[in-house]
Amino acid sequence: MKIDGKDVEFKEGQTVLEVATDAGIYIPTLCVHKDLPNFGACRLCLVKIEGMRGFPPACTTPAKDDMVVTTEDDELRSIRRNVVELLLSEHPNACIVCDDKKLCEQYRACPMKAGQITGCQLCPNKEICDLREVVEYLGIDKVDFEFEYRDVEVERCDPFFDRDYNLCILCGRCVRVCKDIRGMGVIAFTKRGHETRINTSFGKTHLEIGCRFCGACVDVCPTGALSARGTKWHGKLDSEVQTVCGLCNINCGIVAGVKWGKLVETTPDHDSYTNGQLCVLGRFCISGMVNHPLRIRYPQVRKDDWLIPVDWEEALGAVVEGLKKYEPREMAFIISQDVSNEAAFMMLQLAAKVGVEKIALAPSSGDQKAYDGGNAFGVSGLCQAAGYTPDELMTPEDVARMAGRGKIKAVYTTQDVVNIDDAEFLVIQDVYNSHSLKSAAAVLPVQSFMESEASVTSFDGVTREMKHASEPYARSRPDWEITRDILKAFEGQDYASLGDVRAAADAELAKVAKPDAQGTTSELNWFPKHIRELGDPPSKYRGMDLTVLIDDLRVLKEGRK
């Protein structure tokens, strides 16, 4: 077939739009999204095809042999302008037609954090707006139709995202992603004609109607109509880092948005094996967790009943000195299933060096679902490689019980453990301030999975890398490095770099059978079927209940009940 005079090849089943895009010919679109079935709603991609009447939309017209397509001429340009101007007659357009916009953008580079969006300068979507892109492409700086503000109330009563349908251009992307990709169908077009709106059936809240709050709709929305309430006002990002989520062992691909050295948003990674989808935890909770004021700021050591902030050297000195006072059989190590392969490997190395045999995994596998524990397969695999059969591993409850009976006196734990107060010498290496701290002899603050490099082995047996995205919180350090320093003090092997530890951990993991991937990865688009759902037990990270950290998650859980 021929597009704009160019001979192009195509495959059976391709649309004219796809053929053009493959041939490097740009046709402006709005309702098309690469993950979604085409729909033909916006009429922006209209083209001319010889022998066909009118202007067929390129996105829904199948390519045929000997077709002759024109994608751009004066007539098409004016039709497209008309289409966009018509959209802008109901979409706040003042910032698009304003004469002062250059100066304004120079002095007000960061969006104003408005509740109701009445212009691009107040819009969280400005930096990534598809509508603005099309406006720019068509060179629109005036709108001939009279503007009519819909003035519908912004919907902010649901957790996690705001919905300002005054900005909606009715492209239907949100409807399609919810139904076709997530299999939910929470939202739909309601009413007709001029009154057409996106809404839930019967106008219920998303919470009432069973929305998963996966945020897929927010991510495909080309405008600022749908936006993540907690993480939308950062404006242009300083950097984006492709990494993986550490909140369950699916380890979905995430793009961490960083600004001011801080994590300001997490969005799904389209290049990852999870096909650009996330659950509510990965999409909406990570930033708030990482920046949360309940994070432990400083290393601390107990002196005269008080936990006193000290420097790292003193804290590690106190840990080593303390541990040396006990017989190996009086000691237990508790390894969180949320720590990286490197961290778990170093704990096991230290245990071997010191002669500690009581190893517990937290949480104990009894009270977790298959994917709970950000690195459940990696941590248990490493234990297995170190010679522990599942039966030989203890549970944190066992450790607490034995501490209560005086059988265990010293405990080194990488997460909060209930009822551990009876341990004489308790070392807590953790992310959040927890109840266990009140009996801790030493507290070692660690970096979260967004702050340090590490690797995890997901439920499908593939080891995935976590990247350094945001700056470490206060004085926190990576798990593996802390344990490495303790091991060094016990005259164990010195690992100079993360790479050395990773190589050693990978070699250990190679000894054990890969976890059963449950045949899932072979299925295309498997993810929605396996999407983690919020249920009991509560979602935790290193023992910390996430609903304590993220209030909207509490609202969601309570709403579910």
């Binding site: 002095y107 954090k113 009445t118 503000y149 006002w233 300001v264 301030n433 609202v555």
Partner: protein, 294 residues
Amino acid sequence: MTDEPVCQDTSQAFRIVKMKAAAPNIYEMVIEAPIIARKVEPGQFVILIPDETGERVPFTISDWDTDNGTITIFFQETGVSTMKMACMKEGDVLVSVVGPLGKPAEIEKYGTVFLGGGCYGIGGIFPIARALKEAGNKVIISIEARSKYLLYNLENLGSVADELIMSTSDGSTEHKGKIHNIIQMLLDRGEKIDRAHFMGCNFMLMISSEATRPQKIPTRVALNALMVDGTGMCGCCRCTVEGKTKYACVDGPEFDGHQVDWDELFARGAHYLGDESIAYQFYGQRSCKMDMDD
């Protein structure tokens, strides 16, 4: 300004008696605060704290009623604190309201006075306009917004203005453009302006002041600075005017618009953008307190 100490009467409940959306993002809030209502003069402001964990935010007093003991503020939702305020209802009580703060606007008979208001300033400029009118001036008020549906307070302003001119970025009112375009229009038609007052965002204050500079029209701007105490102690609201260090809370809020160091003001205003943005991650987490003893 009166010499009496600024009052923060903790026995008093700062009840919201009226809460209304004046325009999208702009809210009118009428608060019970009889002592402030008795003492306030045009151009002064209050600092209020919406809830127990809220920060201190300054708002221009836009009207008051001595008989009923109330003050009115117009505020724009533009951060977590104002988002919390936007969610409050009539009958709710604010944690604290301190005021009146700042120097009152200078009111004299100047001749023709031009007042420009944008965003919250469309509400805030009213008491100054009223006082100037009462002092015998010819008062021309111009207000600006992105579009017609964002303008408000028209009745009040109309009642004290000899001329009320509405300008919008999208041209949905008679005049397309901003206040600086209106000033130019007035000068072009031969209007002699003896004094100008601007209230709105700093960007609007800056470009409007530039419009009065060539004619050397004495220009007063109500600066927007971040504030904490509002009594000249913390230094948070520091700005530079005529090359001298000033504190917007006690030396202002009004300054000579031709003498303000705008770049410094913008830089200082942007200082907390990161924290302000991250604060949204914890909105709704107000109740998140971990009691280590239970």
